[in-house]
């Protein structure tokens, strides 16, 4: 049976891997962007990003000083028996990783602004648990810095709004954010559900690798069209001009009330840090993304 210390150890490894290296699909996408850019300053930005990635990996240092806040998405098999508190194990992992890697202490009280110093606090780390069939366990981690997160948007559109209105809202948000969320970004879009679910979907959408197509044909088409339109804006890497404003657009949807149409947008910076682990037999294994 999986123990607390095993889970904690795995979660520390996930945090370490995510903070210091980028998934292959993201590195590939950045390299491809560099070959597509003709603007010298844009190329220089992408080149600096790629050189930084190599150095971070070699030194095992966090890619960015904003090591963000970790978000854990847990798929928990309803038949899986755990003899420990999962949330607590993840919190202990965050505390340990903060010391060990180290991570910057980013978690503060929203009103007093007092920093907890541990990246653990009231409601932190954020853990979303989804119950699934069977005895499995999967943990997906996304690290989110504030530069990108601060440009999150929620629109409650008219239920009669058409696809064009949705796209317009997404593109306006990308244009308004310009260079601030550290482009080229990955843009997560949540459509439907409710206000809270749309926001959650916009984040969960970021988990899907850039080389994995949306299984929903309509959404896949919208993602493609939005990506091309966003890259026509000319914002470019770090907002200094160029062809690469987004690495990808990821859309997720859920059914919603007939009288509403929630739309949420969430940015992930080019340093799109994530990691996953899955229970294989009795062992929780980190999967190289």
């Amino acid at each position: 049976m999986l123990t607390k210390s095993e889970l904690q150890k795995t979660a520390v490894e996930m945090l370490s891997r995510a903070a210091t290296t980028l998934p292959k699909d993201v590195v590939q996408a950045l390299k491809l962007c560099k070959t597509n850019e003709t603007n010298k300053i844009a190329r220089l930005q992408l080149d600096t990003m790629l050189r930084n990635l190599e150095l971070a990996k070699k030194l095992r240092s966090p890619i960015c000083q904003d090591t963000g806040i970790p978000l854990f998405f847990v798929k928990l098999g309803s038949e899986l028996k755990l003899n420990f508190d999962l949330s607590r194990a993840l919190a202990d992992a965050v505390r340990e990783a903060t010391q060990k890697i180290p991570l910057r202490a980013n978690v503060a009280d929203p009103l007093s602004r007092a920093n907890t110093g541990t990246n653990v606090g009231e409601g932190q780390p954020i853990v979303h648990v989804e119950l699934v069939r069977g005895k499995g366990l999967q943990i997906d981690l996304v690290i989110k810095g504030a530069g990108a997160e601060n440009w999150s948007r929620l629109f409650m559109l008219k239920p009669t709004a058409e696809e064009e209105a949705i796209k317009r809202a997404v593109l306006l948000t990308i244009e308004e954010a310009a260079g601030q969320p550290c482009p080229p970004t990955i843009v997560g879009v949540g459509i439907g559900g409710s206000a809270d679910v749309a926001c959650l979907l916009s984040k969960k959408a970021l988990l899907r690798p850039l080389n994995m197509k949306n299984p929903d044909k309509k959404l896949a088409r919208m993602e493609f069209e939005l990506k091309n339109a966003a890259n026509e804006l000319g914002i470019g890497p770090m907002g200094l001009g160029g062809r690469t404003t987004v690495l990808g657009v990821r859309i997720a949807k859920a059914a919603c009330h007939t009288a509403s149409l929630p739309l949420a947008i969430n940015f992930q910076c080019w340093a799109a840090r994530r990691a996953s682990a899955r229970l294989v037999g009795n062992k929780l294994k980190v999967e190289a993304p």
Partner: protein, 185 residues
Amino acid sequence: MAKLIELRPPLSDQKIKSLKAGDIVSLSGTIVTARDKAYARALDLLRSGKKLPIDLRNGVVYHCGPLVRKTPRGPKIVSAGPTTSARLNSTQVEFVKRTGVKALVGKGGVSEDAARELARLGCVYLTFTGGAGVLAAQAIEKVEKVFWQNLGATEALWVLNVKNFKPLVVAIDTQGNNLYLHRKI
């Protein structure tokens, strides 16, 4: 690629005015980090006629909240890329006016209004690639001093000696050119 321009603080008006948007810069010498809380405290002090613990006149301020590892030999900066400068928009101009800073280093630029005022004040805006924290940390030769640690390591004033901190891009120059506003695909 444009020629690499070397900058060494203290910076002269002449040197700053010669910089053009799009120029690539390498910075060596003393720079000081400051972000949200440090700006607020600095302005509180300066408005009441008090002095800052370090003179910033003709100096360089880096919008950065470094990631610091404690070691027996003192603090070691592990990752130190730029933070979003726009968070400081409301006090940016007053800060530059009161401190006499000649160059800001950050990411994302400042508001259009602030950019105009900075140009008038003869202060240039340089940018380093956001997220490239390890490369930036590699350019730090030495932590000279750290002030206001009670604001927390992220928000403190770190006085850093950097060597060949590059590539920095002149994003907003003193002639009113602004790469964020006049983007070229």
